[in-house]
């Protein structure tokens, strides 16, 4: 038997997260289940950021003085750690951005403006976060390109049966999420990547949810681009990552322009810096990058494979317990392939009301469309209530969620 406790020492992990140890009101401890929106931070990350500010902070890449050198080393060190974390071939393939959203916009704009011609095709999926839809719609409109969508099955999986048709014609880019932030579905993208490459299209992977929860190897995946955010993986907000294959990054024009992204500027023009700095105009989020490096160290020490395995067990337990709640798991959670968060939706109760009543019992979940309106439309839902787990959540917290659901149902028992 795989006992949950042998996978992770969750009690020890919880001690690393100060914010978890609080009551939302007297006698009601916090149960934080809004991890898909953002994760909490361990002491190791909080300390790394404040140590950096206390001892080493200065601007990067500029000053010839001790602090600037230390700061640059810490910033570039975080880049190297991030590269190793996703098995990039080189740290030069890691561009620091503000968040996953900016990473998508960077490629949509910089690559799109240079490469999309009228009539070209971008293929997305129906289960994307708005961050991986709207930037592509914008550039498609600007360049006269067409956007197509891979449909989603009733089971919440990508429907690849019509892929040949979707990939016919001048398809230049396929952008898909690695893990849905609503369904929890993990997309095994290998087939899609292969098919896209076979027709000469590039593949952009939205890793905002996957990189924080499972081991991701960009070389094995053969993704051309991968986007993710520091704040969803125990790191600070304000720092995100764009991974890109080096030859693609080198061929792309810059996104934002200014200082740090040039080699030489004359009154007539400028010569771009090398990658990845070509894409990092202006003073970057230095301390946030250092914090991301500390988060990567933390997650690596715990082990991404263990985190993923543990969350699977926790999810299984949650689905089993949900089965007991009147209506059954079918009414509460959509089936998912092997993901981690279930979208909860109960007939007769609006997700906002569920979330409000769960909050009354200390349980923090998210209600709304989770920036995935097309996906909700696909399932004829206006909104859902989402409970999403991370490495510090426990079975007891799942029990608290279930108890709170019973409470919510009792309030609405007309």
């Amino acid at each position: 038997m795989t006992s949950v406790e042998t996978l992770l020492n969750v009690e020890a992990i919880r001690q690393d997260f100060p914010v978890l140890h609080q009551e939302v009101k007297p006698g009601v401890p916090l149960v934080y289940l809004d991890n898909a929106a953002s994760s909490q931070k361990p002491t190791q990350v909080i300390e790394a950021v404040s140590e950096f500010y206390r001892k080493h902070y200065a601007n990067v890449h500029r000053g010839i003085h001790k602090l600037s050198e230390e700061s640059t080393e810490a910033y570039e060190g975080a880049r190297a750690k991030t590269a190793t974390f996703i098995n990039a071939a080189s740290r030069r393939e890691i561009v620091f951005t503000r968040n996953a959203t900016e990473s998508v916009n960077l490629v949509a704009q910089a690559w799109g403006r240079a490469n999309l011609m009228p009539g070209d095709v971008i293929v997305l999926t129906e289960m994307e976060h708005h961050a991986n839809i709207v930037p592509w719609q914008l550039i498609a409109k600007e360049r006269g390109a067409e956007v197509r969508y891979v449909p989603v099955t009733d089971d919440g999986l990508l429907d690849l049966s019509g892929l040949d048709t979707l990939l016919s014609g001048p398809v230049k880019m396929v952008a898909a999420t690695h893990m849905s932030n609503v369904l929890g579905t993990v997309n095994a993208l290998e087939g899609l990547v292969q098919a896209a490459h076979d027709v000469g299209a590039l593949v952009f992977v939205d890793g905002a949810q996957s990189v924080s929860h499972k081991p991701v190897d960009v070389q094995a995946l053969d993704a051309d681009f991968l986007a993710f955010s520091g704040h969803k993986m125990c790191g600070p907000s304000g720092i995100g990552v764009l991974y890109g294959k080096r030859e693609l990054l080198e061929a792309m024009p810059p996104f934002l322009a200014g200082g740090d992204m040039i080699k030489r500027v004359t009154l007539e023009g400028a010569e771009w810096n090398d990658v990845p700095w070509k894409f990092e105009a202006g003073t970057p989020a230095i301390a946030q990058a250092v914090g991301l490096g500390a988060a990567v160290d933390y997650l690596t020490r715990v082990g991404m494979d263990r985190i993923y395995a543990y969350e699977q067990v926790l999810l299984g337990y949650a689905l089993e317990r949900l089965e007991e709640v009147p209506g059954g798991a079918g009414a509460w959670a959509r089936p998912v392939q092997e993901g981690r968060g279930g979208g909860l939706h109960a007939g007769g109760m609006h997700p906002h009301d569920i979330a409000e009543l769960l909050n009354d019992r200390g349980v923090a979940v998210r209600a709304g469309h989770h920036c995935a309106m097309p996906l909700h439309q696909r399932f004829n839902l206006v909104a859902t209530t989402r409970a999403s787990f991370y490495l510090y959540n426990t079975r007891e917290e799942v029990d608290r969620l279930i108890e709170a659901l019973y409470y919510a149902k009792s309030v609405f028992a007309f």
Binding site: H350, L357, G368, F412
Partner: protein, 130 residues
């Protein structure tokens, strides 16, 4: 929980003035994109510009639906001018519960739609102060 006191649940369960009126003088609908709530309000006025019938339909949480139901009841018999003077405080008083900042949008969706309909605008003078 206070927020779900009986009166609110009663209005949520039995929404007053449910269903649209025919030949409305005011007809306005809108979504709250944050939660996907939807409200459609219709009002018929008499020759003295006084409300003779209110009808509405919508979808949303208990707070937004109860507030629409209560506001609809309060509108009957009022003049167009009086409709324009309904305020945020009137709604909160009718609901009679503390509303957290995030739920304020839910509570005020009906007011927003009434104002927009009454003024014939997507907003109304003084909206920012509400």
């Amino acid at each position: 929980m206070d927020m779900y006191r009986e009166l609110i649940l009663d209005h949520y369960q039995n929404r007053r003035n449910w269903g649209l009126v025919e030949d409305p003088d005011i007809d306005y609908e809108e979504d709250n994109p944050l939660c996907g709530d939807h409200l459609h309000l219709t009002v018929r006025l008499d020759d003295a510009r006084r409300v003779v019938a209110v009808g509405w339909e919508g979808e949303g949480c208990a707070i937004s639906q109860a507030s629409a139901s209560m506001l609809g009841e309060a509108m009957v018999g009022k003049t167009l001018d009086e409709l324009k003077h309904f305020s945020k405080d009137d709604i909160l008083e009718m609901l009679g519960i503390p509303i957290s900042p995030v739920r304020l949008k839910c509570a005020l969706l009906s007011l927003k739609i009434l104002k927009a309909g009454a003024y014939g605008l997507t907003g109304w003078p003084g909206e920012e102060d509400e």
